[in-house]
């Protein structure tokens, strides 16, 4: 990665690692303090992932790491050697949109768009978690373990509550996710 991210640090303050981002491998030499979000935004120019709080409190930075949704502002990049990262830029195939992106467009599930990449990545994660039968606080305790969890309105609201939207697009986001499930 660029010297901009590396800065002029002494040895011992940097680490080398490999990351696979949106299908492409990168050999990186990074300041040990760098969060994954800043690697993406500042190092790789993938500014689709947003920084809303930098503290794991808003979900704007949500990406998929090895298929699971994470707050990328909370992950130190040096701990991710070999990881597969998917950002909003890597969801669609070529020029085509991912079904979640289509659903958000269809339902006008955003206004300013700043939380949107995080909401979309989070939704991709939610669909997979529900399909694999991961329960949430809204899941019926008697739901058979490991069986796919139907994504009701309550399930969607609960599972997407880590992604803040100050524009208040929640009703449309819930409808978008319902369309997908």
């Amino acid at each position: 990665m660029s010297a901009g991210v590396l800065g002029s640090l002494e040895a011992g303050h940097t680490s080398s690692l490999r990351l696979r981002v949106n299908g492409e491998w990168y050999e990186l030499s990074l300041d040990n303090r760098v969060a994954l979000l800043d690697v993406l935004r500042e190092g790789l120019g993938l500014t689709g992932s947003k920084k809303g709080c930098d503290h794991g409190q808003c979900g704007a930075c949500t990406v998929l790491v090895d298929g699971r949704r994470v707050n990328s502002c909370l992950l130190l990049a040096v701990a991710l050697d070999g990881a597969r990262v998917t950002t909003v830029e890597g969801l669609g195939e070529g020029d085509g949109l991912h079904p979640v992106q289509e659903a958000f467009l269809d339902r006008d599930a955003f206004q300013c768009g700043y939380c949107t990449p995080g909401q979309i990545c989070s939704t991709v994660g939610v669909l997979e978690e529900a399909a694999q039968g991961y329960p949430s606080a809204a899941t019926d305790p008697d739901h058979p373990a490991g069986e796919p969890v139907p994504l009701t309105g309550d399930e969607i609201r609960e599972r997407l509550s880590g992604n803040l939207c100050r524009c208040g697009a929640y009703p449309n986001i819930v409808d978008a996710v319902r369309d997908l499930s």
């Binding site: 640090l9 206004q111 939380c115 609201r157």
Partner: protein
């Protein structure tokens, strides 16, 4: 020109939607000119005082730190009209969180570490951040925000109140609130050959350019400010903010481009807040519920450097008829950050108080809360005596009641119990003024059949590009996909900000005029020159001519809540808003905005509050873990939440016929929720937000 059916009013999808769902839309901090540096601010950690010295040695010794800017080592600038922009100009610390230094570094990590390493020594002075009803520095200002007179009196309101057979006298509190748009305020600035280019997260870059010109002593044509995509603002980006001054200053100081994205924790003190308001409302009525006297006094705070008075008593001048009325604003200057606009300044807290009091009056008179409002609906604006250009509050109440299912309501409070939970429903009215500002725009017919519309509008999430394209296509009689729209750049024809629910009316008016003029010139199918044929519009004269009418949007909010009597938790289980806001120009984006306002209103009712720390100054809630923006689980899923509107044709507005929709969605929501909580429990709550601690304490021993 092709003849088409107009798309105006239909739900045309957002033009930039694809960019937003793919991550291609770029926001202010996401521009990376070569050699760009990162800045990180150092906020004051004393409640009031002055900077004695700044020790930057440790910061400068860190790898990657380029410089530490202070008031002492930066070239002088001219003072700005807005004192909140005079950062690093002198040693004064008017409040905790005021920026006292700025670290510039090669990387974000170095900038952050540098800011940590800067040692600032202060001289402190005694401070006071606590607003009380009997504060001795309280005074009545000349004006409240928006240029409203601070005091309006009609008849003898106190006398009429004393003589009234039915009286409500109640105090309501609204705490400080923060806008907290999801995109923190950010700017990327660069200087090249004496030209300053800034990508700013702003609701209006024409005004940002003017402020930078003043501060840096530059002609406006040497500054370009863009705001192509803005991650929300809700008023907090409505005026130029210190981050943009600091970014430009740092770029000039270092000779390299600089990005400053404010850390979330610095926003509460740096970019405005809704000031707390302590209300007293006194309503006098006859036994049939006809108002005899309306009094609303709103006490608020401001900072020591700027007088900003939340105009919370103003809606009482608009809402209900009464022979006697008194509306008064009072303010106390404190050692607090400067308050400013937050979605529906004045109306949101003011209508919480007034509409809660109306609910109390309904209870006192035994009238249905909808009927009480209908009974007191005035023919003309009570305060001014001017006729309304249109007023369909009654229709909103009636239609909203029908859609919400209000008629089945049992008026008795505290009787719908299911285990530990009590449920209830509430209603509140909403109003927001029709504002419009002068604007310029151009429309060009290009060879090949396309059109180009240019205006420095800003899309902060409203869908401005889309609706301006619809307005243009309508005026041109052209299909929308032949109309290109350029906005978000101060090199475009100057335009007012996206704020005060006035953006679409102001920009749309100019766009409509330019396109209508162009359409006239194209009537004979003239040969187009290679650069196209351009028509210009400037609405200054027409806008400044004003109107003999009182012009306001109205609405009605309905809510159903469930109150857990064990935990004190209040949940909104249903919400409906019905609005009369003139012509709705895009059904899809309008619905999203109405709902978004309602969501923020639910936050105001239940979760949002900032607290001033009396010992250390500043706001205690400085991040999104402490300041509770509503999350998805706080908001009912459709169809339990919905917004609707009536088709309101008002010929006294502007050529596009809209009243503005960005703010009215929040206005009545908090009162509707509070009134529903009373209906559920029989207990009156008069202090927002209705958090479990307060609710549980109030219910103890009652239910």
């Amino acid at each position: 020109m092709t003849d088409t059916t107009s798309e105006l009013g239909t739900g045309v999808p957002r033009r930039e939607g694809r960019d937003k769902v793919t991550g291609a839309a770029r926001y202010a901090a996401e521009f990376a000119p070569p050699g760009r540096l990162y800045a990180w601010p150092v906020p004051a950690i004393v409640a009031a005082g002055s900077v004695r010295s700044v020790d930057a040695a440790a910061a400068l010794a860190l790898p990657g730190v380029v410089d530490v800017l202070t008031a002492r080592n930066t070239a002088p600038r001219a003072p700005a009209d807005d004192p909140t922009l005079n950062v690093l100009q002198d040693d004064d610390v008017p409040h905790r969180g005021w920026f006292v230094a700025l670290v510039v570094a090669e990387t974000l990590e170095a900038a952050r570490a540098g800011a940590q390493a800067v040692r600032v020594h202060y001289d402190t002075r005694p401070h006071d951040v606590t607003l009380t009803r009997d504060h001795r520095e309280r005074y009545v200002p000349e004006e409240a925000n928006g240029g409203h007179p601070a005091v309006r009196e009609r008849g003898d309101a106190p006398g009429a109140f004393d003589a009234a057979p039915i009286r409500v006298d109640a105090a309501y509190d609204v705490p400080p609130l923060h806008n907290h748009p999801m995109e923190p305020h950010a700017a990327t600035a660069s200087w090249e050959d004496g030209h300053l280019t800034v990508h700013d997260s702003s609701q209006g870059s024409t005004a940002v350019r003017a402020a930078l010109a003043q501060i840096f002593g530059l002609a406006e044509d040497r500054i370009t400010v863009t705001s192509a995509h803005v991650g929300g603002g809700f008023g907090s980006k409505g005026t130029p903010r210190p981050h943009v001054v600091l970014a430009a200053l740092a770029a000039r100081h270092t000779g390299r481009p600089v990005t400053l994205a404010l850390p979330r924790r610095d926003l509460p003190a740096a970019v405005g807040h809704r000031a707390p308001t302590l209300h007293r409302v006194r309503l006098g009525a006859d036994p049939d519920g006809i108002l005899l006297s309306v009094e609303h006094t709103a006490l608020t705070h401001t900072s020591r450097i700027k007088e900003f008075v939340e105009q919370a008593a103003v809606p009482a001048r608009v809402m209900y008829g009464s022979p006697h009325s008194s509306t008064v604003h009072e303010v106390v200057p404190l050692d607090v950050a400067s308050p400013s606009w937050m979605r529906a300044p004045g109306e949101a807290p003011g209508m919480y108080a007034l509409e809660s009091a109306m609910d109390e009056l309904a209870e006192r008179t035994g009238l249905d809360p909808v009927e009480l409002r209908v009974l007191n609906d005035p023919a003309d604006e009570p305060d001014s005596g001017r006729p309304f250009s249109s007023r369909h509050l009654v229709e909103c109440l009636r239609e909203g009641a029908r859609r919400f299912g209000w008629e089945e309501r049992d008026p008795r409070p505290g009787v719908r119990r299911d285990g530990p939970r009590l449920t209830g429903t509430g209603v509140a009215a909403a109003t927001y003024p029709v504002l419009v500002s002068p604007c310029r725009a151009t429309a060009t017919a290009l060879p090949g059949g396309d059109y180009l519309v240019r205006v420095n509008a800003t899309d902060i999430g409203t869908g401005a590009r889309t609706v301006l394209g619809q307005i243009a296509a309508d005026a041109l009689g052209a299909p929308g996909d032949r109309v290109r729209v350029e906005i978000g750049d101060s090199d475009l024809p100057p335009a007012p900000l996206a704020g005060g629910s006035s953006g679409t009316a102001s920009w749309g008016w100019a766009v409509h005029e330019a396109c209508a003029t162009l359409a006239g010139r194209l009537a004979g199918d003239p040969e187009l020159p290679p650069e196209g044929l351009t028509a210009e519009a400037d609405t200054a004269e027409a806008v400044e001519a004003g109107s003999p009418y009182a012009r306001h949007a109205f609405g009605a909010h309905f809510a159903e809540v469930s109150v857990d009597t064990d935990t004190g938790e209040v949940r909104v289980v249903r919400a409906y808003g019905h609005f009369a806001a003139g012509r709705i120009l895009n059904a899809r984006t309008a619905r999203s905005q109405f709902l978004g306002g309602m969501v923020m209103g639910i936050g105001m009712a239940l979760t949002e509050q900032s607290t001033l720390d009396p010992a250390f100054g500043g706001f205690a809630e400085r991040d999104l873990a402490a300041y509770h923006v509503p999350v998805s689980a706080d908001i009912p899923a459709p169809p339990a939440i919905e917004a609707g509107w009536l088709d309101e044709a008002d010929p006294h507005l502007n050529p596009v016929g809209g009243k503005g929709i960005g703010e009215i969605g929040i206005v009545g929501m908090a009162a509707a929720v509070g009134n529903a909580a009373h209906h559920a429990t029989g207990v009156r709550f008069r202090s927002l937000p209705l958090t479990p601690d307060k609710v549980r304490a109030a219910l103890a021993g009652v239910v």
